[in-house]
C-alpha cells in the first residue's frame, strides 16, 4: 500500500485541474464491496463458464469434457421448449407497456381527482410477493371451480384446465406476469409524461386537435424513450421467468405439465438442483447470458429507428 502524505495545496492556483490523488483512502472505501463482488459475482461468472465445459463427479471433483454439455443441451428438445415458453411469456408480458401507456395518460388527465389512489391500486400487484399471490391465481384458474372459467362460460367459452394443460399453463402464468408488471410501467411512464410541456397540448387544443389526435401525435411520440426503456427491462425480466412459474405451477415431481411449461431459468434450476447435473445447468446459464445479450443488442439497434430524441 502506498502511504503518500497529501501536500497542502493552494486553494485556487493551478488552472488546468490536476487530478487529486487520494492515496489509500479510495481502496478502503471500495474494498468491502469490491471483495464481495469479486468473490460472489465476478469469480463465479468465470467458474460457471468453466463448469459448463466439465462434468461434476459424484464424489466431488470435475473433469473437463469440452463441449459435451452444450451438445447434450442442443440435441435435446428441452432447451427449445424452454426458449419457446420464455419467448411466449415475454411476448404476452410486453403487452403491459401499451396498457400502461393508456393508464398513465388517463392518470395524467388535468384536474383528475384520486389519481394517486389509482396509482397505488395499479402498483400493488407489482409489489406483492409472487409466491403469495400464486395460490389465489391457481384457484382462479382452476378448471373445475375456478372463477375464470365460470366467467368464460357466460360467453359460451369452455375454458381449459389452465394449470394442468400443456400450452394453457404457460399462458396462465403469463397473464399473472402481465398483471404484476403493469404497475411499474405506469409509474415510469407517469414520470415520462411529466416531462412533456403542457404548452404542446394547449397549442394542439387551440388548433382543434381531438384528445385522440393529441394522444397519437404528442403523448406517444414523446413517451418513446420511456417505452423503449420499459421494453428492454421487460424482455430482460422475461428471460428471468422463474418465480411466477414455480409458484403457480409447482414442482416437476408433482405436476407433469411443468415439464412442458418450463422456462429457461426453470431448466437451469431443474438441471442444477433437482437432477444435479451442474455442468449442464452451467451450460444453460451461459446460453441465457448470450440470449439476453443478443436480445438487448437487437432492441437497442431497432430503437434507433423509432425512439424520439430531442
Amino acid at each position: 500500500m502506498t502511504t503518500t502524505t497529501q501536500p497542502v495545496r493552494a486553494p485556487s492556483s493551478d488552472k488546468p485541474k490536476k487530478p487529486r490523488r487520494d492515496g489509500f483512502w479510495p481502496w478502503l472505501f471500495v474494498a468491502p464491496l469490491g471483495i464481495g463482488i469479486a468473490v460472489f459475482y465476478l469469480w463465479p461468472i468465470v467458474q460457471t463458464a468453466w463448469f459448463s465445459l466439465t462434468e461434476f463427479g459424484v464424489f466431488g471433483g470435475t473433469t473437463f469434457t469440452g463441449l459435451s454439455n452444450y451438445q447434450e443441451l442442443f440435441s435435446n428438445g428441452d432447451l427449445y421448449k424452454a426458449i419457446g415458453n420464455t419467448l411466449l411469456y415475454t411476448a404476452i408480458v410486453l403487452l403491459n407497456v401499451p396498457i400502461a401507456v393508456v393508464v398513465a395518460s388517463l392518470l395524467n388527465t388535468p384536474g383528475l381527482r384520486g389519481a394517486s389512489v389509482y396509482r397505488v391500486l395499479y402498483f400493488l400487484p407489482y409489489v406483492a410477493m409472487p409466491t403469495a399471490v400464486a395460490m389465489v391465481w391457481r384457484i382462479i384458474f382452476n378448471g373445475d371451480f375456478g372463477v375464470l372459467n365460470r366467467v368464460l362460460g357466460w360467453f359460451g367459452i369452455d375454458g381449459p384446465y389452465w394449470i394442468s394443460t400443456p400450452g394453457a399453463a404457460i399462458v396462465a402464468v403469463s397473464v399473472v406476469g402481465l398483471w404484476s408488471s403493469i404497475g411499474f410501467s405506469v409509474i415510469v411512464l407517469g414520470a415520462g409524461l411529466k416531462q412533456i410541456p403542457p404548452e404542446l397540448y394547449e397549442a394542439a387544443e387551440l388548433d382543434g386537435a381531438s384528445r385522440w389526435r393529441q394522444f397519437r401525435s404528442i403523448t406517444v411520440p414523446l413517451l418513446t424513450p420511456s417505452i423503449a426503456f420499459l421494453s428492454v427491462v421487460t424482455v430482460i425480466a422475461g428471460f428471468q421467468l422463474f418465480d411466477m412459474l414455480y409458484a403457480v405451477l409447482g414442482t416437476t415431481n408433482m405436476n407433469a405439465t411443468v415439464f412442458d411449461s418450463m422456462s429457461l431459468v426453470y431448466l437451469f434450476y431443474q438441471a442444477g438442483f433437482v437432477t444435479n447435473d451442474k455442468g449442464l445447468a452451467a451450460a444453460v446459464a451461459m446460453v441465457v447470458l448470450v440470449l439476453v445479450a443478443v436480445a438487448t443488442a437487437i432492441q437497442f439497434r431497432l430503437q434507433k429507428k423509432w425512439v424520439h430524441v430531442d
Binding site: 460457471t48 389509482y118 395499479y122 409447482g250 438442483f273
Partner: protein
C-alpha cells in the same frame, strides 16, 4: 347551463375506465381475502360462493398452528434487514469512491462492478451455492443472506447520486482538514438521503420476495424465508386452501402496507431510478 372548465369535461369517462381497470387489478387480492375466510369446501365448490357463509377468522389462527410461519417470518425479517443495512453501507462507500475520488485503476474496477448488471443471476448462482456449501452455511440464515449483501445495482445508484452533488462543499471540508472519511460521513452522505431511501426500498422489495436463492440453499421449511416456505406449500395437499391463502396474505401484507404508507417516496424513487 354553465359548463365546467374545458379540461374537466371528460373526467367521468376517465374515472369509469380507470376504476374498471383497478377492479381487475384488485380482484385477485379481494378474492384471496374472501377465500381465506371461507371453508375449504366453499373454495372448491362448483356453485358460486361469492361471500362465505360465516367469516372464518380461525383460518388465520390455523396458519400459526399448522405452519412454521413465525420462524419463516423471522427469517424474512432478518435477511431483509441485514441485506438492506449492508447494501447501504457497502454501496455508499464504494459509490462515493467511484464518484468523487481519484485512484489508479478506477475505470477498470468500476467497469468490473457494473458489468454484473448485465449478467443474469443464473450465471453466478451455481458457484455461489458451492461457496456457501464449502463454508458449511447451507440451510442457515448466514447462507441465505451472504451473496445479497453486495449489490452492483446499489453501487450504480449511489455513484449516480454522489456524481450529482457540487464539488465545492467537499473542497471546503477538506481545506478545513477533514479526512476523506469525515468528508463522506458528515458532508456528503446526508445529502444523498433520498437516493439511499430508494436503495433501501428496492433492496427490501427484492429481498422479501426473492425465491430462487432461498429455494436452493434451504431444505427445512423452518429455515426458509416466507417466499420459499409458501412456494413449497403449493403442492402440499395436507394444508387447506383457506389456510394457505391466509398465510400468503400475512406474508405479503408487510410489504403492501409499507408501500401504501410510503407511496409517494416509492413511486418517485422508482420513477427516477427507472429513468436513470
Amino acid at each position: 347551463m354553465t359548463r365546467a372548465k374545458g379540461p374537466r369535461r371528460n373526467n367521468i369517462g376517465v374515472h369509469l375506465a380507470l376504476s374498471l381497470g383497478a377492479v381487475v387489478m384488485m380482484f385477485p387480492f379481494a378474492w384471496q381475502i374472501l377465500m381465506s375466510l371461507s371453508t375449504n369446501a366453499e373454495v372448491q365448490s362448483v356453485t358460486p360462493h361469492l361471500w362465505p357463509e360465516t367469516l372464518r377468522w380461525e383460518n388465520y389462527a390455523e396458519v400459526f398452528r399448522q405452519l412454521p410461519f413465525l420462524d419463516q417470518l423471522g427469517n424474512s425479517l432478518f435477511i431483509t434487514v441485514v441485506r438492506v443495512l449492508a447494501q447501504i453501507a457497502f454501496c455508499t462507500l464504494a459509490g462515493y469512491a467511484f464518484a468523487r475520488m481519484q485512484f489508479r485503476g478506477k475505470a477498470l474496477v468500476l467497469a468490473a462492478v457494473l458489468s454484473i448488471l448485465m449478467v443474469p443471476s443464473q450465471v453466478y448462482l451455481l458457484p455461489q451455492y458451492e461457496i456457501i456449501q464449502d463454508l458449511g452455511l447451507l440451510g442457515s440464515v448466514g447462507g441465505l443472506v451472504l451473496p445479497g449483501l453486495f449489490s452492483a445495482f446499489g453501487t450504480f445508484l449511489m455513484r449516480t447520486a454522489f456524481l450529482a452533488l457540487p464539488a465545492e462543499l467537499e473542497e471546503a471540508a477538506r481545506l478545513d482538514g477533514a479526512n476523506p472519511f469525515q468528508v463522506f460521513w458528515h458532508v456528503m452522505l446526508p445529502l444523498i438521503r433520498p437516493s439511499i431511501s430508494v436503495l433501501a426500498i428496492t433492496a427490501t422489495l427484492w429481498s422479501w420476495n426473492e425465491l430462487l436463492w432461498p429455494l436452493v440453499v434451504t431444505t427445512e421449511s423452518s429455515s426458509m424465508p416466507l417466499s420459499a416456505g409458501l412456494a413449497t406449500l403449493i403442492n402440499d395437499r395436507t394444508v387447506n386452501y383457506p389456510v394457505v391463502l391466509a398465510a400468503s396474505l400475512l406474508a405479503t401484507a408487510p410489504v403492501l402496507i409499507l408501500f401504501i404508507v410510503l407511496q409517494r417516496r416509492v413511486i418517485d424513487g422508482l420513477a427516477t431510478s427507472g429513468m436513470k
